[in-house]
């Protein structure tokens, strides 16, 4: 490379240039070939090394967190397992959320699925339908199974079998900017028996929104996550709105029922008609004080407190109508049908999501526990603000529809929800979406 660089300073007449480009090309080509060879051999060497040193390897994949501490904790489960199981090597690998699920799918096609991996709750029916994960009945002890609260117990079970263990529980409530609410002399309720109705919430929202020459300078409410069923389904459920029939076989008559249409209308009005919530705002709206309320889980509460140290954050319940609501669902951890040593895989799952691992994880991550025994060991959960999340989840959890076509249902309803946000007529939009979903669901009957 050095020689080529010197040559390049020569005046750019034809000859010198010809010599230069060839030599550069050659040198660089040699470099490229060397890199190639190194790559091929290093991969071969690694494979050989693994075979010689550790006869048993366990692959564990999870969805990478943006907070290093949590990734370290999950990597740590692998190291701890290696220590307690000499001769076993745990390869822990993490991938970004957006592509994780695609990567898992492709790995299955190549018969290279991880032995143990994160399964997002709504995808369990799909993985069961496509025979990707093994049932854990008989592996989980009865006593341990009874230790789960009803909601997570319900989530991990599908068609009568247990398929994966929850890492934690997660449910969103309303986070609020304490200073803004103080200014408006409003005290949001901290106990479930005093929670706001949706009309109360509307009044509060009108009181805290700030407008200047027709433009909103401070919003009343914004979501933390991009819109999806997880985010807006509670707003439907509070007024009796549904997405699918209870047996998840059809959407028509449920997604476009009068109750769902009304609930969607109320939710959509927050955006275009009432101008209380922004449609697709810049990130960190709540952290920077540009909205009074946001919808977030305890993990988000911790994250915001850490990143925006000047902000005083409070938590209150999602408003209620016919019922109280909070969304639910969490990452689970399951075993692939392609895992060669299922017993060992189970031992690993148990070391992560069993009592000890669960306690360690939940405490560090700031999520809510799924096991009663873990709750008993975390006294802070009985105190505000954690009690808001805990009480909400214990009494108001809304489960998302359980169908192998979950992604299709979520995408279709979410697209409809965006049109509704923009103030378009609700009923026809939902009619079309319901018909589309029914067509897709027919595949799985």
């Amino acid at each position: 490379m050095k020689r080529a660089r010197k040559e390049r300073r020569k005046p750019a007449n034809g000859r010198a240039v010809a010599g230069l480009s060839r030599r550069t090309l050659l040198t660089a080509a040699a470099g490229g070939a060397a890199a190639l060879a190194a790559g091929v051999f290093s991969s071969a060497a690694r494979t050989a090394g693994v075979r010689a040193a550790a006869p048993t390897t366990l692959q564990f994949w999870y969805v990478r967190y943006t907070i290093p501490l949590l990734n370290e904790l999950l990597d740590g489960f692998g190291r701890a397992f290696e220590q307690s199981h000499p001769g076993v090597r745990v390869q822990v690998q993490a991938f970004p959320f957006g592509e994780y699920f695609q990567k898992v799918n492709v790995a299955y096609a190549g018969n290279q699925a991880p032995d143990v991996f994160f399964v997002d709750f709504p995808l369990i029916p799909n993985y069961v339908y496509r025979k990707m994960i093994v049932p854990l009945d008989g592996l989980v002890a009865k006593a341990e199974l009874d230790d789960y609260y009803p909601a997570p117990r319900n989530d991990m079970t599908y068609q009568g079998k247990v398929w994966a263990l929850p890492m934690h529980q997660s449910g969103e409530q309303l986070l609020y900017n304490v200073d803004v609410l103080d200014q408006a002399k409003i005290r949001p309720p901290h106990t479930l028996d005093q929670e706001w109705t949706k009309e109360d919430f509307l009044h509060v929202a009108e009181a805290v929104v700030r407008r200047d020459a027709g433009r909103v300078t401070r919003w009343a409410y914004a979501t933390t996550y991009a819109p999806g069923l997880y985010v807006y389904q509670p707003w439907l459920a509070m007024s009796g709105g549904e997405v699918l029939s209870p047996d998840a076989s059809r959407a028509t008559g449920y997604l476009n029922s009068p109750a769902t249409v009304n609930a969607f209308t109320f939710w959509g009005d927050l955006y275009t008609k009432r101008q209380l919530a922004p449609i697709q705002p810049t990130p960190d709206l709540f952290g920077t004080g540009q909205t009074a309320f946001t919808q977030g889980n305890p993990f988000v509460l911790r994250d915001i407190a850490a990143r925006f140290s000047n902000l005083r954050v409070g938590a209150t319940f999602m408003p209620r109508d016919r019922r109280c609501v909070t969304n639910s669902g969490a990452y689970h951890i399951g075993i692939s049908v392609q895992a060669k040593q299922r017993d060992l895989a189970w031992e690993f799952v148990n070391s992560v999501a069993g009592r000890d691992g669960h306690l360690k994880w939940v405490k560090a991550a700031g999520y809510l526990p799924a096991l009663k025994s873990t709750y008993a060991e975390l006294p802070y959960l009985k105190q505000y603000p954690w009690s808001v999340f805990w009480d909400g989840l214990a009494h108001c959890a809304v489960q998302r529809p359980r169908t192998p076509a979950y992604d299709f249902v979520d995408d279709t309803v979410t697209q409809a929800s965006k049109d509704i946000q923009l103030g378009r007529p609700v009923k026809p939009i939902l009619d079309v979406a319901a018909a589309k979903i029914d067509q897709e669901l027919a595949r799985y009957r």
């Binding site: 799918n105 799909n126 810049t282 990130p283 709206l285 992604d407």
Partner: protein, 298 residues
């Protein structure tokens, strides 16, 4: 393919060296291009979900489903509209930029770098950046809009603005490359031609149309063909920013394909879709190549 008898003997020498020349490239193309395409064709005849090792054979049913799928037709319409916006925009931008940055002054070299800058950011990232810049109602661009006392715009949330905005974004992202290719082409034009033209009194626009433009035609054709292909393969900004919305206004073919393949795991249907796309673009490319033939016989 029927070949005349004795073709091997007659053309042996040049042919042999030709095959040596194309061997590395053709090997790569066959193993990592054609083989997967053939495999994808086999997949399109099955109901494959990536997991089942023995997917059921369904014959041409995936192709029939494609023809009956209203979203496919919507996607085809959107993609065509996008190509019709992007190709002229991109070509004009690339050529225009190449012409204005051709002088070799130092400050113009800085500009050249400036115009090329968006190229070096990955597409995913560039799309994410535009999503934030055009956030509504309070993103940076809407802040600028407010300076002009205009109401906040919906940008990517507006069915009329979303697709054109994606075309503008792609032009922003890629015209640096088109500029580069045109610069290489301008480099090939002998200076003597301009001198001769100058003696004839041709200047400015007239000289552009009589010398530069005709001599760049081969490159323009390349740019148009490639941009047409790329336009029909538009995916990333839709995936990152709009997910096909609002009101399906940005549902384009490859996004539909990707969603069917990797989110809904209808691999068979997605493969059928990719073949439809393949033949569609091949047809378009064939037309453009036919134009090239005309050009060559001159």
């Amino acid at each position: 393919m029927a070949l005349p008898a004795g073709w091997l003997v007659r053309r042996r020498r040049p042919e042999l060296s030709a095959y040596v020349f194309v061997l590395p490239a053709v090997l790569g193309v066959l193993v990592f291009g054609i083989a997967p395409i053939l495999y994808a064709f086999v997949v399109s005849l099955h109901n494959y979900d990536l997991v089942n090792p023995h997917p059921p054979f369904v014959g041409m049913r995936n192709y029939a489903a494609l023809a009956a799928d209203p979203i496919f037709w919507t996607a085809l319409r959107n993609t065509t509209a996008y190509a019709l916006m992007l190709v002229p925009l991109q070509t004009a931008a690339g050529l225009g930029l190449a012409l204005i940055v051709q002088p070799s002054a130092r400050w113009i070299a800085v500009l050249r770098t400036a115009y090329f800058m968006p190229v070096v950011v990955s597409y995913v990232v560039a799309a994410g950046l535009w999503e934030i810049l055009f956030a509504t109602p309070n993103g940076p661009v809407n802040s600028l809009v407010a300076l002009g006392h205009l109401p906040p715009q919906l940008f990517f949330q507006d069915p009329r603005q979303a697709l054109p905005l994606i075309a503008v974004m792609s032009t922003w992202k890629w015209s640096g490359i088109t500029m580069l290719i045109y610069l290489s082409g301008l480099h090939e034009i002998p200076l003597e031609l301009y001198e001769a033209a100058e003696m004839d009194g041709a200047r400015g626009a007239r000289r552009f149309w009589s010398i530069t433009w005709p001599l760049l035609q081969r490159i323009t054709l390349f740019v148009v063909v490639v941009n047409t292909i790329e336009a029909f393969k538009i995916f990333t900004p839709v995936y990152v920013i709009t997910s096909g919305g609002p009101m399906n206004s940005t549902t384009v073919l490859v996004f539909h394909l990707f969603r069917e393949a990797f989110r809904y795991v209808h691999l068979g249907y997605a493969s059928a879709l990719s073949f439809a796309l393949l033949f569609l673009i091949l047809g378009l490319a064939a037309i453009q190549f036919w134009l090239l033939r005309e050009d060559r016989s001159e």
